[in-house]
């Protein structure tokens, strides 16, 4: 295979048929160019999607109750599921090793008043862990702590916008704000990167709010983050287990999608991955179909070349060339032409992407690029293509009878 004579012959055929080789090689190079551009675009899309998730905690899971859609365990469909403090405790006990931070969420709408200023806001009553789950940034003061929770202290942490609306120029820390006519002390002000809406929220200890609303132990959502060392597979396994356990606890059909939602960032990531995998598959498929045209072109030219060289092949056979050696020669030539022209297409695409790619920085599409897997994919496709293109001509060549060497005229 790495024989000087074989290469000499391949280079000779190429040299004597420069234009012909260029024209056929061009179709393969062009096909690879398109293939690489498609794959790079898919990469760009993936980069864009993933970029949008990056500013949230990436290991978050939310458990939200719903309404059952299937009868199960003696209950009819249409049952509303209600999470309670006991559920939170249960999760905490059951998955102590898996959980990093854990918090309940209890939602309430309030009318807030400070002196003459009023406004309507959403209160999220949570555990202290919630600060870490939501990555809440405290600008001044502090978040509430375990002691506040145990004491059911009437304290709140308000968003920057809330502070601006109600307190104007005053420093809200230590002041009392009325929420639905109950007085709460402001202990902190928080901000959120780039999201004004989040800054219009108020956090309070969940125990305080549960007491205010008739000593309930209801909660709306359980939010948690899992052990950050988990990889995707382990994270998915954990959220799956969590869902199973919670559904069993609330007697929800395991197949019932509406009864309980366990939303996992990892799952969203997984969805994006499988979405882009499908796109990548389509890209490879389309590229390969275009490549088929190139393969047929090269095969066509090779058949023609073999016809021209029939006599020479006959002479070689008369001199003792075995059919295998002839087949190898033709296949190698075919692989060489396809691979070389394919790599020229690849390099061309790479140069264009390197020059133009960094200019794309929109949310859905950023930095399209060629990576190692693209190059490997393209290489494998090219070699397969070369073999396919050379197969028929090689068989034709192997079938040349050495007798043609003697039939002069």
């Amino acid at each position: 295979m790495f024989d000087r004579d074989v290469w000499q012959e391949i280079f000779n055929t190429i040299k004597t048929n420069k234009l012909r080789t260029f024209l056929t090689g061009f179709s393969v190079g062009w096909a690879i160019f398109i293939l690489v551009m498609l794959l790079a675009s898919v990469n760009g899309m993936q980069n864009g999607f993933l970029g949008q998730f990056n500013d949230d905690a990436t290991n978050t899971i939310f458990i939200r109750p719903g309404t059952t859609s299937k009868a199960y365990g003696g209950f009819e469909a249409g049952r509303r599921i209600q999470l309670k403090n006991e559920d939170l405790e249960y999760v905490k006990q059951s998955f102590a090793d898996d959980i990093e931070y854990l918090s309940a969420r209890y939602y309430a709408n309030v009318t807030a008043r400070y002196k003459s200023e009023t406004g309507s806001y959403n209160v999220q009553a949570t555990h202290p862990d919630h600060q870490a789950i939501e990555k809440t940034l405290i600008m001044s003061g502090r978040y509430f702590n375990e002691a506040d929770l145990i004491n059911k202290a009437k304290v709140v942490v308000i968003g920057r916008k809330v502070a601006e609306d109600l307190f104007k120029k005053e420093d809200p820390l230590g002041k009392f704000v009325e929420l639905n006519n109950l007085s709460f002390r402001v202990i902190g002000v928080f901000t959120d990167d780039g999201d004004d809406n989040a800054e219009r929220g108020i956090y309070a200890p969940v125990s305080t709010y549960q007491r205010i609303y008739g000593n309930t132990n209801n909660i709306n959502v359980i939010a948690l983050t899992y052990n950050p060392t988990y990889d995707l597979a382990k994270a998915l396994e954990f959220s799956g287990k969590l869902e199973d356990v919670m559904k069993r606890r609330h007697k929800i059909d395991p197949e019932d999608q509406a009864g309980l939602y366990v939303w996992n960032y990892a799952e969203a990531f997984d969805n994006i991955s499988s979405f882009t995998a499908v796109l990548r598959g389509i890209g490879i498929g389309v590229g390969f179909l275009i490549l088929v045209a190139g393969i047929v072109g090269i095969g066509n030219i090779m058949v023609f070349t073999i016809k021209e060289r029939t006599k020479e092949i006959g002479v070689r056979k008369a001199l003792g060339a075995r059919p295998r050696q002839i087949i190898n020669l033709v296949l190698l030539e075919s692989i060489f032409i396809t691979t070389l022209s394919g790599f020229i297409g690849l390099v061309f695409a790479w140069v264009i992407l390197a020059a133009v790619g960094p200019m794309f920085q929109t949310p859905a599409f950023s930095n399209p690029s060629v990576n190692a897997s693209t190059v490997i994919t393209a290489t494998i496709i090219l070699i397969v293509a070369g073999v396919l293109a050379g197969l028929i001509p090689a068989m034709k060549a192997a079938n040349v009878k050495p007798i043609v060497a003697l039939s002069d005229k």
Partner: protein
């Protein structure tokens, strides 16, 4: 060296069958220089094809250097051709993009002789045919006689048992023809067995034996007094 018994060969031409060789019996000893003569259609080319293992016979026996030649696979035939036979063609059949040296080395390549060794050997044979200074020229830079001498060197490079020459002087003028025949005679003098297919009387008389073919049978097989080609050169 060569032994043929009752060899038959016919070709299908549409619905007709053309009986080309009708029972050839023929024996060649080592060191002979045999001319096979006959008009076109006499079957001499078919006989040469069968002797060269380029074609198979319908019936009959063919033994080459004690080895029965029958039902060979393509690969086996290629091996035997490489080992036993050297071909010299009317139109030289050199590979036009390879230098004289590389052409001569080609049979050795198919014998899997290492590159350096086969180049040395090829150079020896080129020297023998007097073309050492032309070793690195392409066939297009050589005259007809020189090309045929390169072809002869190529046929000999693999050190075959038998040289088969198909009209070796057919494309050459008479002076060059005699030069080539002189070379063939010299090679024969060294003890090589050579078969020459020709339709030229003067060329045939430079061999040691003439076999006449007509309509697929041997009509005459006689030993002759060899005319040395050297006197015309």
């Amino acid at each position: 060296m060569i032994e043929i018994k009752d060899l038959h060969k016919s070709y299908k031409m549409g619905s007709n069958s053309l009986h080309v060789l009708k029972g050839i019996n023929f024996k060649v000893e080592e060191g002979e220089l045999v001319a096979i003569m006959g008009s076109s259609g006499s079957g001499k080319s078919t006989l040469l094809n069968i002797l060269g293992m380029l074609d198979g016979a319908d019936s009959g026996e063919y033994t080459l250097d004690g080895v029965p030649i029958k039902n060979l696979s393509e690969t086996k035939a290629a091996q035997y051709r490489n080992k036993f036979l050297g071909f010299i063609f009317q139109s030289f059949n050199l590979i036009n993009y390879k230098s004289a040296l590389e052409n001569v080395a080609l049979p050795l390549y198919y014998q899997k002789v290492p590159r350096k060794e086969r180049q040395e050997k090829a150079m020896q044979y080129l020297e023998k045919v007097g073309l050492k200074p032309w070793a690195h020229h392409l066939p297009s830079e050589l005259s007809g006689g020189q090309k045929q001498r390169v072809a002869i060197a190529r046929a000999m490079a693999a050190e075959p048992k038998v040289l088969l020459a198909d009209e070796p002087t057919g494309a050459l003028d008479s002076k060059t023809s005699y030069e080539v025949m002189d070379l063939i005679q010299q090679i024969n003098d060294e003890g090589n067995t050579i078969l020459v297919v020709t339709h030229e009387e003067d060329i045939a008389h430079m061999c040691k034996r003439i076999v006449h073919l007509k309509d697929g049978v041997i009509v005459e097989d006689k030993k002759i007094e060899q005319v040395r080609a050297a006197q015309y050169v």
